[in-house]
Symmetry: D3
Subunit: 244 residues, 6 copies
């Protein structure tokens, strides 16, 4: 079955990673999953929040947000509304957990890295693009810190890579990396975060229209792992390109 | 391997459901999963929010909260802090989605049901107890509404039952229904929401300490479905007891 | 004149005090005044807020709140609204002042006790039930702290007991402990907080419908003191029962 | 016993009422109780809030606030803190209830009056000065509205006058109208709101240091009623002066 | 062309400065520009905010606000709305910058002065009246601090005086010190803050109706400097009057 | 005198305008003033806010914000802080006023355009780049609306063009378009908004270090008008390029 944009069910959308997009941040990447564009920056600070001081361990956290006109209809700014919505909170927490899963916080030392993932344009899969791009920004910020000796030459804070992709069942068929028009039609929607070694970090499956059975769950997981494997390749390529 | 409270890995904690605990709400249940106690109330209103009016469909939503001293250390009230934390938002949304998955909103008609799940005492698994108890309150509120003819005699808004349970891997072994002391030690933690027919509504697995592989994921899902099956029995028994 | 529930004007509603309801808090009581049920917990912390440090004196404070469906119609959560209403503030302050009136803060030493009074079900007199139950939780938390030597064996932080009751004038007749249906009809409504020795801690009388004269005020005070005397007996009995 | 400012225990401080201070409001008064100065304005609007429409009844409400440097030490603005404190809420509600007690809302018709009481300088008794001054602003706004025919020529929305005063026990002696230096030393502090006919609208007595007995309560009430009687005279005089 | 209140285009409204209006603040002035009345208080504190400690420099800041019924129609309180509007923020910042422009923060030493400018009645030009009055309060608070030796006898923290006035073009004609009825009709509106020596501190011109050319800008600046010169005279006179 | 980046005092930084950057918005531009990059989107809605309905006039408004890591040090998000800072408010209002100055709201008809200006990278002059880019997005959204007949073929809502630039005095010398390192050293800082015809819309000059005289003001205005003239050329070129 062909998809609206001509992909087969197992295809990712065109992926681009513009590493070092920001000249201010210690690490950054402008990542695209088709029409979804997320600017990911890593802010490295020597030192940790008060509650962690003296424990010899670092901290990695993330914040996700969307520009008001990233979407087809304009959304009010959360700063204007004076509060952060549940969805924003949920995704920020997911990104933070995903990155911490592949970081050795002891090896990071008493340093803090904040990942900001701002969606400039949204066309489905913003959280998975954010995680995938944030990993690149994170990796660069660690090398930046190593260059300034905030992290030792032999320390290995990164214990694996991490990427994420969405999968879903549309008209009974499992599909990879849903665009927005597909996402709204999906019966079941799943976000999978996996490491470069193929282990799961997060599996979040939701029956949007109809509960799903074990067999459907299995085929979604197969598709997702194939997708995160490809994304790991894109990350590797971006990080091996000449320094930003 | 015996657990701290003597259970085997596949055992639920003692489950009790005090149906009709509240004399004010249209449906209610005080549910316990061991030391976790959640008061679930269903508030039925004839009519729907403005954005749904005239569409011939109803609305079901949920709010989750914890009393400040439900836990071992006191937490500041979210009302005093002036904002709701990400965890609260996330769980409220999960409960709402879980219940909507087994409701036929057309059959509900233009009626609104709000489920309030307030944790009076917390010992792990508060969100799963909340979903399991909220189903009982929801079912009772629908019968209440049928009695007052807000819902027709033949309408079947409930298309299945729904229950939830946590599973996790501790010291390499998958275990069912984690108590708080287990939860903090788990390498991987998963919440599974499933219908009475054994279909998945939500699967949320998180690598808290170490990413997990496909085999581990499978054994967690097996354990979870066995647990939700038992919980469905407790729900059935509670709803068949004499009217509250 | 008989009341809706068969009481005489000078009768309290059925009073129950479930001491030690919470297994988490240092002291707790689930108190009922008829259909009004309030869960009171005392959280004891060794140490005081910064502004009191080094003054050799302790601190006792209280927070009151109502579950959204404690009442007949559901109220929006204050955490969702993002601010605490005037009524909630007012009652929290009243409870705190009432308990501090019978505490010797010097004898308490540099320790802090926070009383949380959460109304699980509301049928009039929630603030008076909260004060009466909070005293029991407070007393238990002090004995808990004495057992852990945060308070000396001979220190007597409690210098009296304290209880509270509402009184009101309905159809010209003074009545004790108003249920909700009575409260809304009362011309004058008064909350009286008094010690076990019969001294006033707070007297808050309000003309809801018609200003009241001195004679009416006097008969309300008589009725209230008789009520707080009886409540002091219930408190004594609860605290003398086998340890929770 | 002479007081710091030379008054006898039964003396009010110098009282002044500058009626019509504001050229914008429909009624206004700048009232002083000694060093306490409160600007009271009444804003009259034809029409009522949505929840009252079509019921043939009006609405009177009040808001109290203090300028940041009204007091000896500067307080942060509540607008800057982003929330209103419990004390502010409590006093706003007290002022509103006090004025509604002497208003016939049916006779007011579908009109709304908002009383703003802003403390420009604070030296004890700000809430009692606010109530006393607000009555004058309220009365003037009603005459303003009668002049514009929003209220009929024969309608009598004001059924009595209302004034308020503080009393307290200092070193065992009951005293009237406490200045700030007295207020902080008082063992017991009471605010009494009474009508021109000598009936009670509010009685709020608080044991700040030591619980009080019935005899003390009685002498405080005597003192307070004598004080509100004098304040009623000041109000009458202000309202009979040439129009502002 | 005569103006509604009989002034010529180059006339200020009647200006009064009641120095020392507050008995609580270290410096204060109640200033009127016609019907606009602003209470300005200066709160002097020995010490500086944490971020300035140990730098040997002081801090001056300002907050502006309007009473809800300062204007012809009542505005909701910003404390009740829970947030400060853009206009309030903007004016507070302008006042702070204007005063810091004539203060030598080194000579002030590690001291903080907060200027509160509360508009009691508004009839146009509230920000310019606030700046002009705040200077008087500021000057008095510095003398107060010198008297208590928080500032040395020879220190000269004030390096100039500062005043502000509005100008605008109405029906093509430049006019000084616009009253509210003029302000709403102005094609162009400009606020000019200038020192006693005639130097500009702030120039804020806005085309409300029609963009303006260089010649118009020049004539507005001429008018404004003539106005601030006169205001500087009023300030001098107020400060030379017998001590408050 | 050469500047850090080699410019002469009268040079703009390199200016680029990427028109149609967003595929979601009705008009958009990614504009750069050197290292400052601002994404401007125009959201066109048929209809106006309730308070404007039926008046035959449109509405144009703007919101400005900065990504947390647009700057050299990370700033907390305003959405996380729960309130918008004064600077953000001030700039949003400035952008809105600037655009409304060149719009004929009657000719726009009952339509609303919201301009969002999000700073992706900040290196001085973010507000002036925002205004200059917003004009391009605005112009495109109007043509979009004309294409869909929300605006008539002959209607001319745009009555002029508008651009903005900063100027400042550094070491006594007036300079155009300050980069961040220049901005922090400027004695005087001025933002000028002018139309394509060379008329002023806003003139905001602030003495950051030392008050400025009339002659300095004049030379800043000369420099600024030369700058906005050049910016108008860049806008024209962008709008004449092939459609986005």
């Amino acid at each position: 079955m062909a998809r609206a944009d001509g992909r087969t069910p197992a295809d990712l959308r065109p992926i681009t990673i513009e590493r070092g997009w920001s000249s201010q941040a210690e690490g950054s990447a402008l990542i695209s999953f088709g029409g979804t564009k997320v600017l990911c920056t890593a802010s490295f600070t020597n030192g940790v929040p008060r509650w962690l001081q003296g424990k010899g361990t670092g901290w990695v956290t993330a914040e996700y947000a969307m520009l008001p006109r990233a979407t087809n209809d304009r959304n009010d700014r959360e700063s204007v509304k004076g509060k952060i919505g549940g969805r924003t909170h949920e995704i920020s927490r997911l990104i933070g957990r995903s990155l911490r899963a592949i970081i050795d916080l002891k090896a990071l030392g008493e340093n803090t890295i904040v990942l900001d993932c701002d969606v400039l344009q949204a066309d489905g899969g913003t959280r998975t693009a954010a995680i995938t791009g944030a990993y690149v920004a994170l990796a660069d910020s660690i090398e930046w810190a190593r260059g300034r000796k905030f992290i030792g030459q032999k320390a290995q804070p990164l214990i694996d890579t991490v990427a994420a992709v969405s999968v879903g069942i549309i008209d009974g068929e499992p599909m990879l990396d849903l665009a927005y028009v597909e996402d709204v039609r999906a019966e079941t929607d799943m976000n999978v975060v996996a490491t470069g070694r193929g282990l799961f970090v997060e599996v979040q499956g939701t029956a949007e229209r109809a509960p799903f059975d074990r067999r459907e769950l299995d085929s979604l997981l197969d598709l997702a792992l194939a997708g995160t494997n490809q994304l790991a390749e894109f990350q590797r390529a971006a990080l091996q390109s000449a320094d930003a």
